[in-house]
Symmetry: C2
Subunit: 469 residues, 2 copies
Amino acid sequence: MKLYETYADEIAELIRQGVLQPGARLPSVRQAKQQRKLSASTVFEAYALLESRGMIHCRPRSGYYVQLRHGSQTPEPHTAAPAAESSPVAISDLVFEVLGSTRDERMVPLGSAFPSPKFFPLDKLAKALTPQMRRLAPAQLTGHLTAGDEQLRRLIALRYGTSGFRLEPSELVITNGAMEALNLSLQAITQPGDVVVLESPTFYAALQVLERLKLRAVEVATHPRTGVDLDSLAEVLRQHPVKACWFMPQFQNPLGSQMPVEAKQALVRLLTQHQVPLIEDDVYGELYYGHHRAPPAKAFDTEGLVLHCSSFSKSLAPGYRVGWVAAGRFAQQIQRIKLMASLATAIPSQLAIANYLETGGFDRHLRQMRLRLEDNASTALQCISRYFPTGSKVTRPQGGYFLWVELPPDLDALVVHRRASAAGISVAPGQLFSADQRFHHHLRLNFGFHDGSELATALRQLGALLVSP
Amino acid sequence: MKLYETYADEIAELIRQGVLQPGARLPSVRQAKQQRKLSASTVFEAYALLESRGMIHCRPRSGYYVQLRHGSQTPEPHTAAPAAESSPVAISDLVFEVLGSTRDERMVPLGSAFPSPKFFPLDKLAKALTPQMRRLAPAQLTGHLTAGDEQLRRLIALRYGTSGFRLEPSELVITNGAMEALNLSLQAITQPGDVVVLESPTFYAALQVLERLKLRAVEVATHPRTGVDLDSLAEVLRQHPVKACWFMPQFQNPLGSQMPVEAKQALVRLLTQHQVPLIEDDVYGELYYGHHRAPPAKAFDTEGLVLHCSSFSKSLAPGYRVGWVAAGRFAQQIQRIKLMASLATAIPSQLAIANYLETGGFDRHLRQMRLRLEDNASTALQCISRYFPTGSKVTRPQGGYFLWVELPPDLDALVVHRRASAAGISVAPGQLFSADQRFHHHLRLNFGFHDGSELATALRQLGALLVSP
């Protein structure tokens, strides 16, 4: 990395952390030269780079300023106050009804759960398939299948090294996407009727899985920027016979929140005191903004109580159905349930991904994708502040590709959903994100478009629908 | 097909049906000439072909005789009389303990559940992967995923046409192997505590799945050659609040039995009267001996009560994890559970198989595999009658690659398993094949070896262990 890039990264990190607030003036070139012993051209190049990324802008004869972007005029929503009781879940029918239309390719996919498939190196993955399969010894196809390909497990474990913790490949079970990993995790630690804690709002699929497994949900207050509120969680743990928590500490769906490292550590400590397992859903973990991958909650797990689930479906290879769970003390049990549920994960998918990871290119692909998503976040926030009705609120995602919008309370999200559908735009209405459908004037919007101008057009159209019903 | 091949096939069919009994003399060349208006050379060529397949042998100056093969000296076991009560299942620990060793590649795999992977056209499948994946539109990876690739569903449905019935592709859901199909089927129609009828003996994985889903099993008498005893089943249906039957009407694991077509029809009629769904596990359906695929029970399903499950894992592509369920009136429900359980089945596997099916070669591959398996069955029966202790009994499989051996009652199958393991041979002890472990002097033996002489050697070694403990 060149000197100006390093300096640009430092500034970007300060902006992300909020040390440099939106609208703040950056050090002048002279100040930077003096304080950091940098040449004027290095400073100029760094500022130009940040400007090209949309993070700062230049005011003629005044200097460089942090973009309003994440600090758009639209305020952030407050932390929700979920119901204190646990409840059975019955949301699936609504989810199927509402999201059926999302799967229509002709819809503008603001309601989709996936980023644009155009992000992914599908051609390279395809090329990685055949040579791998032809080198395969036939016995590998009927041998030690259930835990997954050893080389792939080793490569996945290695990637966690970059966020500073060591994962044992022997703890990993390769699954049919994260969805199976999460199902297996719940099945390993709960019985029908048990209470599971979810975030508020929470990803509707978590509600659907709880419904399917006849589990009771209790939702915990979740801050739109810093994630699960630990005081509220402590209260929930005192009041309910909790058997598991299912949280997304990194880039929560739908909030985009990220728990600070200390909070993750405190979370694991609190749950360990109560001997409550944490199912950590980390499917967006690779889609951080900035340069450093924060350690997941799993990194602080001393007693094997964290079942860390993730996949390649959002970061590399949708449709390949390769996920995993690092299941701590539950690893053997998970392997057994997996054997009975689906025997094993498809070998061609596993080998293609293992080959791709080994031959390189994944990090380059991710760097590009992260930059694009961060740019899109900025575009989306600007569009929302410009086109959405007064009184709207919106989150400032820390990673991933979701925004959570709180509309003025007189707008019903299901009505918005229907009107937007009729106009060819899908959205995910807030009602799907809580067992009691409390988020009735909220929307989850997907900004994971490959083309930022298409995103802007879609948000402008949606805004027009919202403003003049 | 040439004339002599047609004639050879006719004779082979008569042998299979038992019209020509083992040891019987075939028509002389002169008789055949007169009765069938065939040339002498056609008859000779036909007999030579049957001889090369091990179905008949020539006695010099006497004529051609049907091999003793399936009619080996070893008698067949009787129909088992299972317990009349339903019971919860607790067999999984034993299965894991016992079958752990089966997965060791260095073991001689008489205990394996898979045929030799050397049977499969793995290289052609691998070649079919890349071009398919490169032609894929990215949107296909995140679009209508759950039910599976449309072309693959169409091709699977088409194959059923050859056994004379029409399957609607819209009824099919592609799954992660048959194992997921069977799990989804049970989940769609049962609740924990419900009673499910299984065959006796039954495939241990069925017991494991019932255990996992907290279902109660009741076992029904099953004839080693003609499958489920319908009178016994009628009695079970009168006595128990049965919610589902899980049967393998074709080439049952472990018996190799096949229900005659009329029995399948009567089975579906009986279950329809009671409105009890049938989960039809048809994973060995393609591995019939002879030339005609009998229709599955699904063919007689008039009310959408049969959930027909199968896969390519035993016939074409182990490790690809592509199975399916034709779920009748439960199709939509299965799709929904699948969405929540694992979202979708890996696209690369699906497209590789679709491409292979389309470009042909599957039927040729299957013809070869079936002939080899039938030869192996003959070899195995001969070895057992020669090397196994007096008092042994053995089934006459109608398809597939399993034999069920009843040893003299003083031999404990778990002891046999341990001693065989120590000698480098795996076997599947009978205790695994019933909830009450009643088959304690039985073994399931896999004769799906690619090399018949390796099979013979393995059975000779096992026989020596059994005879002189």
